[in-house]
Symmetry: C3
Subunit: 116 residues, 3 copies
């Protein structure tokens, strides 16, 4: 089976609503089994991964998308810059050391790149 | 003949002027016969595809670029979100069901991705 | 030796600080000998390449990254639009005729695309 792969890049908090809507629309159109979908957040965008943001209107959307198979990833440099500890993150968040390196690696593996 | 392919992505109305200038500059430098150039609009950016915007300063640029071979595409989810009907669109606008799926498919076909 | 390649795209002055931080974080994580890293500026972002901006807080970061091997490139159309002459540029800046064509060409050569 050929798997389609896509990485969504976000580095601005204000873009989360749009990004999550984009991903939700995508899921409605595809067979998720045939896709690898990753959301890579760096810079200030990682703040939404913190449990302190649990009342944010976007968190529920994020959790639903994760339950359907979408991977949410944080740049560790950004987490450190905003003093967010690993224990502060929702438990489904994955961490990579350097967000932009993840973007390079995934594209070299054939992932499409989308920046909402 | 090898054909170069590029998809321009826009989801903010405020970026239309810059995007259209980018595409116009590109056309002046290339042999359009050897390029497939697509502009994919989703989110609020689809509003500029409506005939109700015909007085917008960017519409004339868009029409000229289309006459030279540039394809303009709208995300249908975005059209529905902004209550824009197919009959409201300039007649050269193409529609795809899901904009981000178009971005994935085109990149998997070898299109470069540019987000002005 | 396999070389990884990446082109960073910037067209807004306000994004320089974030972009340069992204690139600096990347350099700390990789062996620069195995990477080609290019920063392509078009539109208003080219203004920061002018020696008249030498007091800008980002210039020092830019010079340090260039010393480590990062290439900084300007779109000539943008330079003309902002009346910036070749003699006004820092001497390590390279010029390409059309920024978006550079983005297409590099991606067709296997460069990953990142837009901070």
């Amino acid at each position: 089976m050929t798997v389609q792969k896509v990485i969504f890049h976000i580095d601005e908090i204000s873009k989360w609503k749009l990004l999550l809507k984009n991903v939700a629309n995508l899921l409605q159109a595809i067979d998720i089994e045939k896709y690898n979908i990753e959301v890579l957040a760096n810079s200030e965008a990682v703040k939404l991964y913190s449990v302190n943001e649990e009342l944010d209107e976007n968190i529920d959307s994020m959790k639903k998308l994760n339950n359907k198979g979408v991977s949410f990833v944080a740049c560790n440099n950004a987490l450190m810059a905003y003093h967010i500890k690993k224990d502060d993150l929702f438990d489904f968040i994955n961490i990579v050391p350097v967000g932009v390196l993840e973007l390079i690696n995934k594209q070299s593996e054939g992932y499409a790149y989308i920046k909402p």
